[in-house]
Symmetry: C2
Subunit: 291 residues, 2 copies
């Protein structure tokens, strides 16, 4: 059973409450309601390195409250502060904290972070340019007061994949990776293509590789800012690489022993693996454990 | 081998051209370049019911040209006319035409339609409200002249799934379906959840069903306006249904013989199936053929 990062949140998203102003009002006035404590868009952690929750009284004045959902029937919110700096940069501290947090807590945070980030980037109506847009559906949308268009939080599907040839897999490194780090190749799914077509296109674009038999393995969200990562494998008949150096600094074929040594962190291993909460980590583990 | 609808376009998306103004300029002045003929956002069809292509001279004056990609090295474009009516409504005529077109042609059209629709809905910068946004990357983005934010075409991931219990599958009908039509249940993937989590959430929300062992089957794009449809199956231990009547008019369990009769269009079959270019059709077929 695969347990990818940022999954397993205990939150019930309580979709029914979002469209029911009375039920939403009741959730807001529920004395048990909890507010996610944030430092900007980053989480405030308690002494155990877990998410920290306060009461709704801690929310900044006039800050809209977004209903994350219910845990054991208890409403959980995040406050939207429009003065919050945008979370485009991911600090090493945040990555460390997320890595040490139980995946189900990281998952709860991931949904909140993506939602907040989307509101911050979408205060204006893309259809008519009006700034008169307001939070809608308990936080899960915005509605334009000028042209009436409804906008919904964005989720960008991304494929991330291992090409396989003769018992080896292809790993690549982007220039901004930490030294020694290699990972699975990845790219955004574009309008008008399937997951399977996106996998084939990206492997061809980035590595000059033609593949067949694309197979989906597992998915997870990635909250920087809001991707849906879908991990796949695909078979390459010809291992010759033509690397697109605008995307990748390097790409190499690694055999099973090499992936094992890398994942075990052995000295002299071919590469440093991605962190456990990245789906590439799950994908490498799946590939090693597969019979 | 599954062949879902709207897949198999012969277009090479030619990503490298998008970021290379010289190469893009060369494509624009290539005498072999072709322009997708459109009637509003709908396709113009030739006598064989295929997509119709003209020369770039047919483009409205000042209309930006979007590079769909290359076929046999030959650039293929669509013109963006900002006065085009938005394609929110899907005429029965369009559905009929798409159903009769080879899937690979429908796939080429799907990418163009989603891209054009996105530009029409995103003329203003959602970050700052400015109307000073311009086509970017050969049509595959917009850039704000005021705040510099880059915007990329949106693809909304959707899960569509069959719950299984004791050799039967769950199908439902939405109020706006044609009489007798049932299909797989579906819903948008939200920020902070995986494909597998979205499947479980939607089946619980819409039908009150708890499921395990979610399995991905196949995907396809859906250009109304730009969804990525991911077909899955999941196992339910308890078949008791609690239908959310705001989403579904009805939901029923159908056994193998019933799905076979429905897909064969037999009189008296439990339901009328979705059209062949909808992924639910592929999913039913996969389910019947699976051993």
């Amino acid at each position: 059973m695969l347990r990818p990062g940022f999954t397993g949140s205990p939150l019930d998203r309580a979709d029914a409450l979002r469209n029911d102003p009375d039920a939403f009002g009741a959730a807001l006035s529920d004395w048990r309601a909890r507010l996610l404590r944030l430092d900007g868009i980053d989480p405030v952690l308690d002494e155990q390195g877990r998410l920290s929750w306060g009461s709704l009284a801690e929310a900044p004045e006039d800050a809209p409250l977004l209903l994350l959902g219910l845990i054991d029937g208890r409403p959980h919110f995040a406050a939207l502060d429009y003065d919050m700096p945008l979370g485009a940069t991911r600090s090493p501290a945040i990555f460390r904290a997320l890595g040490e947090m139980p995946p189900e807590e990281a998952s709860t945070y991931a949904g909140a972070r993506s939602l907040i980030d989307w509101h911050l980037r979408h205060r204006f109506c893309a259809r008519c340019g009006s700034g008169d847009t307001a939070i809608h559906r308990a936080g899960w949308g915005r509605k334009c007061g000028n042209c009436g268009t409804e906008h919904f939080p964005r989720v960008d599907p991304v494929v991330i994949m291992l090409a396989e040839h003769d018992g080896r897999v292809l790993v690549g490194r982007q220039p901004q990776y930490p030294p020694g780090r290699y990972s699975a190749l990845a790219g955004f799914v574009e309008p008008g293509e399937s997951v399977e077509e996106a996998v084939a296109r990206e492997l061809f674009e980035e590595a000059g590789l033609k593949v067949r038999d694309v197979r989906y393995v597992v998915s997870q969200p990635w909250p920087f800012p809001s991707q849906l990562m879908m991990a796949c494998v695909a078979a390459a008949d010809d291992p010759t690489l033509t690397i697109d150096t605008t995307e990748l600094e390097d790409a190499i074929w690694v055999d099973r022993a090499g992936v094992e040594a890398s994942m075990a962190g052995e000295p002299g291993a071919p590469f440093l693996p991605p962190p456990p909460f990245a789906i590439a980590h799950t994908l490498f583990r799946w590939w090693l454990e597969r019979e």
